[in-house]
């Protein structure tokens, strides 16, 4: 609907950041190939990385949110963002599956605080990490670390067209095979996480002869125990296997069966 009036319709867009490296913001504002079109089609009324002007007050046609939730004030902010936005997309692995900041979920918070802040951790309100779906309704997940361009474009174009985005929901292996890459898991016994990882990157790592480390997060119905079994057979230690599965998936249920 909106597309046909697009000359007038530049969605008012806010880009919000919680706990993360800001890589998704950089991708959107600097690195992606449709940068010019993005800036032309969307009215970024709040995007700290692109401009220090602008206000987070909204209202927004589109809110893009990166980062995991690790502090109480973020929960309140997130809820406010949701209230004043028509469409809200989670952007990147931190917001969607926890990503790198969620690694701290593996240790008691007190140990994390001590390690990071030595004796100066009084007054911190850092909590165990959570994904933004835990707190608000999310209209779509633009997966990746940083996002894959296909899903990013699909999400943005869908807002302009007023349609429901269709995100990729299958394994990295499918993209890997379509690309004709040698399989580093079967041929070489590298600990490739591709079979349980959501596609969208175009099988970037296997295409460069590396094992996928699951930076896009687990796909739906990922059979974690089955892949762990395979890694055990290949001779990886329990500690290593645990690390493979928690690098980006510390918040994922440890057994996503059936």
């Amino acid at each position: 609907m909106s597309f046909y009036k697009k000359r007038a319709f530049r969605p008012r867009t806010g880009f919000f950041k919680f706990t993360c490296c800001t890589g998704c913001g950089f991708e959107l504002a600097y690195f992606q190939k449709s940068l010019e079109e993005t800036l032309r089609s969307f009215d970024f009324t709040f995007f700290r990385l692109a401009s220090s002007a602008g206000s987070p007050e909204g209202p927004f046609d589109l809110a893009l949110v990166e980062g995991a939730v690790t502090e109480p004030f973020q929960i309140i902010e997130l809820k406010k963002i949701r209230e004043k936005s028509k469409v809200l997309y989670a952007v990147g692995s931190c917001a969607i599956v926890g990503g790198i900041p969620a690694i701290k979920a593996l240790s008691p918070e007190i140990e994390i605080e001590r390690a990071a802040y030595k004796e100066r951790f009084f007054g911190l309100s850092s909590t165990r990490p959570n994904v933004i779906d835990d707190y608000v309704k999310v209209d779509g997940h633009i997966r990746g670390c940083p996002p894959g361009e296909r899903d990013l474009e699909e999400a943005l174009a869908s807002v302009l067209l007023g349609k429901k985005p269709e995100f990729i929901e299958y394994s990295v292996c499918m993209e890997c095979k379509r690309g004709g890459n040698a399989c580093v898991l079967v041929e070489e016994g590298l600990p490739c996480m591709g079979p349980v990882t959501n596609a969208g990157c175009g099988a970037l790592c296997p295409a460069h002869h590396r094992a996928c480390y699951s930076c896009f997060g687990l796909m739906g119905q990922a059979n974690v125990p089955a892949l762990k079994g395979k890694f055990r057979k290949l001779g990886f230690s329990e500690e290593d296997i645990e690390r493979f599965f928690t690098l980006f998936g510390a918040l994922e249920p440890s057994s996503t069966l059936i």
Partner: protein, 374 residues
């Protein structure tokens, strides 16, 4: 089948290897040459410039040559541009009565000519299977048709079998029995003895201008071939009563061999389907790039990609997913390969063993079927 006249009629000739190689190199002037590079079970079909780059002793490839080159992993099948105005009645409400124009662009059909060299019998049979889907199905696929017509297929009888091969159970190999649907058939007669070349198609008889520089096969050549085939047949490790499977698997849809294998080992990764030479499933998605903001003109592309019944979104339709359970998806693969003969009049497997080899957890459809039939 001896004597020059008989072999002339059968279009069989024995050609020294180096002479044949020179002919292939010359064929490269008219065709893109594509053949197996790198040996063993991990060879791959690649575009080459000379015969010598190929390893015709290869055993298998990850991607099957037919599916890879005739049914591309991803291709644009249509695109359309939307500019400000349209005459489609339903759209006028949204445009406030303004007219929009939608123009449809059909991409040109693939035109390049390719010679696929050294295609094993299982893979030739797989091409014949894909033909039933794309050339003779209810819908004739113009892209596949164009590539099929432009592809010259030089088959090669196998010289070794692997532990995972079971083409012998389907009559698909190790020596090719089909007598049409491809262009030439090679049999390597062994060290220094050259190739026995059979010209199967009209096209081959036209292109193979060195036919008469070979010698007609003698009885000893043909008996050597029979012996080689017989000794290959002894090398197969897998056995299964293929004929007995039809409709038999289907009557045991929730057999524990299936559910237990799928729960404990199936990753739903779809590697099995991707490497399967007969898996023809694909999806067509509209890709709406951001370029739609350009000058009021939007280009929307329809891209067709290989799809797989193992992925969770495959059977998602309005209102639900009719294969939401993992074992229902694995069942679809196993049954489509080993049962469901009614669909295309033949089994969906050609016995190449790729799905077993490239499954990260080694799931073996023949083992599942065997356990189910017990």
């Amino acid at each position: 089948m001896t004597g020059a006249s008989a072999s002339q009629k059968d279009y069989k000739t024995v050609i020294p290897g180096d002479v044949f190689a020179l002919w292939v190199d010359r064929l490269g002037e008219q065709y893109t040459l594509t053949g197996p590079v790198g040996g063993g079970v991990t060879a791959r079909f690649e575009d080459i410039s000379r015969f010598a780059q190929m390893d015709l002793d290869y055993q298998s490839t990850m991607l099957p040559p037919g599916k890879r080159y005739l049914f591309e992993p991803a291709e644009e099948i249509l695109s359309y541009d939307i500019s400000g105005e349209s005459n489609i009645p339903g759209n006028n409400r949204e445009t406030g009565g303004k007219q929009q124009k939608i123009s449809v662009n059909l991409p040109g059909l693939p035109a390049g000519r390719r010679a696929l060299i050294g295609v094993h019998p299982c893979d030739v049979n797989a091409i014949l299977y894909l033909d039933k889907v794309f050339l003779r199905g209810p819908y004739i696929d113009p892209f596949y048709t164009a590539r099929r017509e432009n592809t010259f297929i030089i088959a090669l009888n196998c010289k070794s079998v692997t532990d995972l091969c079971f083409c012998h159970l389907l009559g698909a190999g190790p020596y090719l029995k089909a007598r049409a649907g491809y262009d030439m058939l090679l049999t390597d007669m062994g060290r220094g003895k050259g190739f026995l070349v059979e010209l199967v198609s009209e096209k081959a008889r036209e292109l193979f201008d060195i036919f008469s520089s070979g010698r007609p096969p003698e009885e000893k050549d043909l008996s050597a071939m029979r012996e080689a085939e017989a000794s290959l047949l002894k090398g197969f490790k897998k056995n299964l009563d293929m004929a007995g499977l039809q409709n038999a698997l289907l009557s045991r849809p929730d057999h524990h061999a299936l559910t237990e294998t799928s729960d404990s080992r199936c990753l739903s990764c779809s590697n099995c389907v991707m490497v399967c030479p007969t898996c023809f499933c694909h999806n067509v998605r509209e890709e709406t790039g951001l370029s739609l903001s350009r000058g009021g003109k939007s280009r929307i592309k329809k891209i067709r990609r290989w799809d797989a019944c193992q992925d969770i979104s495959f059977a998602k339709v309005h209102g639900g997913n009719f294969r939401a359970k993992r074992h229902a998806r694995l069942r679809q693969f196993v049954f489509h390969k080993l049962d469901y003969e009614g669909q295309l009049g033949t089994k969906g497997t050609v016995g190449c063993g790729r799905c077993i080899r490239w499954c990260p957890t080694g799931i073996d459809l023949t083992e599942i079927a065997m356990a189910m039939m017990k």
